[in-house]
Symmetry: C2
Subunit: 308 residues, 2 copies
Amino acid sequence: MKCSVCENPATIKIERHRAKFCEYHFIEHIHRQVERVIRHFKMFAREDKIGLAVSGGKDSMSGWKILRDMGYKVVGIHINMGFGEYSERSAEIVQNFSVKENLELSLYKIEDVLGFDFATAMNVTRKPPCSLCGSLKRYILNQIANDLSLDVLATGHNLDDESAFLLGNVLYWKEGYLRRQYPVLQPEGNMVKKVKPFVRLTDDDMRNYAHVSGIEFYSGKCPNARDVTTYVYKDVLNDLEHNFNDIKTHFYFGFLKHSHLFKEPSLDVSIHKSVHYCPVCGYKTLNEGKCLVCSIKEKVSSDLSHNQ
Amino acid sequence: MKCSVCENPATIKIERHRAKFCEYHFIEHIHRQVERVIRHFKMFAREDKIGLAVSGGKDSMSGWKILRDMGYKVVGIHINMGFGEYSERSAEIVQNFSVKENLELSLYKIEDVLGFDFATAMNVTRKPPCSLCGSLKRYILNQIANDLSLDVLATGHNLDDESAFLLGNVLYWKEGYLRRQYPVLQPEGNMVKKVKPFVRLTDDDMRNYAHVSGIEFYSGKCPNARDVTTYVYKDVLNDLEHNFNDIKTHFYFGFLKHSHLFKEPSLDVSIHKSVHYCPVCGYKTLNEGKCLVCSIKEKVSSDLSHNQ
């Protein structure tokens, strides 16, 4: 098996591009895919300061090195959610990698940023754990991005993540999510610009990149994770990909081309819920009154004063 | 296992409705599902003369008896496409069933209606066989419906068929098909109204109905069939249904609720190809000039005169 570019022995095959690469040209290919997304969606420029949410998993660890090696100014942001050994191990792997690769890193603990821990948040809300964790992390990331005066916040979501999410949204015609699913969210008020530069890469690409680059990543399973939905959708899309080459790319990028359809005036009143900004912190929210985090803070301080 | 309605022993379980039925109440349930669709989509009334395309398979054979037993005036229309033993056996099964159940039947051969056979049509067009066969059958059915002064043409498409078709259209964002996929097509010019009254029933429902009603149907595979796409989509949807109860119904009926989205002005110019009517026969077509059938007729007669 020869590299599609240089005739050296190929070690990585990318079925959907009908291409085989040596390690050098695989990395070049990955960089080209990412650059294409960054430019097409006008995500950020060389001079921008980019924050990348880094969990310790294959996507964010590979993405961190990719962006830096491509010449972008990127700082990894790791949030320790306090999930025991899982969180400790994740933080350790992220820190070791930042030292080894000389990557800039900012580490935070949930309670240091928000003033309460995850268990407390679980007690005072009725959200399922994965949904609550996601909401809190998005809030923390936005706050940190403002504190550090970052130009843009990036996440490691790849094509498998986005097409699985899209499949769920389409199967249940979740009009509100379909309206918002896009690899760039423009800044608004104190909401920082958000981007997903890795949407042309798959789980396999990210895993191969980590392997080729000698990146140690964490593949432990979050002890709070309950939601297997994404795995079901990913399996189904992999089955489809097996039958119809590159269908994930067609599905996701075809959707992006047609996303104007979901911007049209809708008959579904639930998605017209007016968006407003939290009167305390200015965070964008669909809640009436305070945002989720400020509501939790209020509840926690009222419980505290009751117990005194 | 007891019937959810009458406490008699249940023989049929319908997982997605979390219901179990004895044979009597299963049939009642099936009739109710079909009646619900007919009324909701204003498909037809008791006094209307309905033509049902009857292939000899489980869906059309069950559907034929269902409509008649519900009190509708239905005539089965069977088209013999001349595919050797497959077609002979299909026609025989349809005829036997019409005699046994005293169902009205009209039988046709492709060459008697169109003046050419399928092999000839294949020779003069470049369409894949399944696509060509579908186009010709739709043309023949419409012509017969006009000849017999029918009010409406029905087909046996069920929820599995429609949700599989929808999945393919959504995965590739086939905007033109998404725009037109609806269980009722209104009459236009000499195009007869077309309806799909069985879209609330699954492959299993149809198979169970046939079994309970002692219907012998034909499950032979068409010797010309090349396209396995539908089977892949059906398998995927069955996998999803296994994980998420009743997801096919959510997916298909959710789409119908949101179908207004696809009626909006589009950026895709290819679907704005103007529809017009064939100058020879008046059939609706996307072709410029004559429709597919009239083009084939023209080609055949010009080939004949060349060879004389």
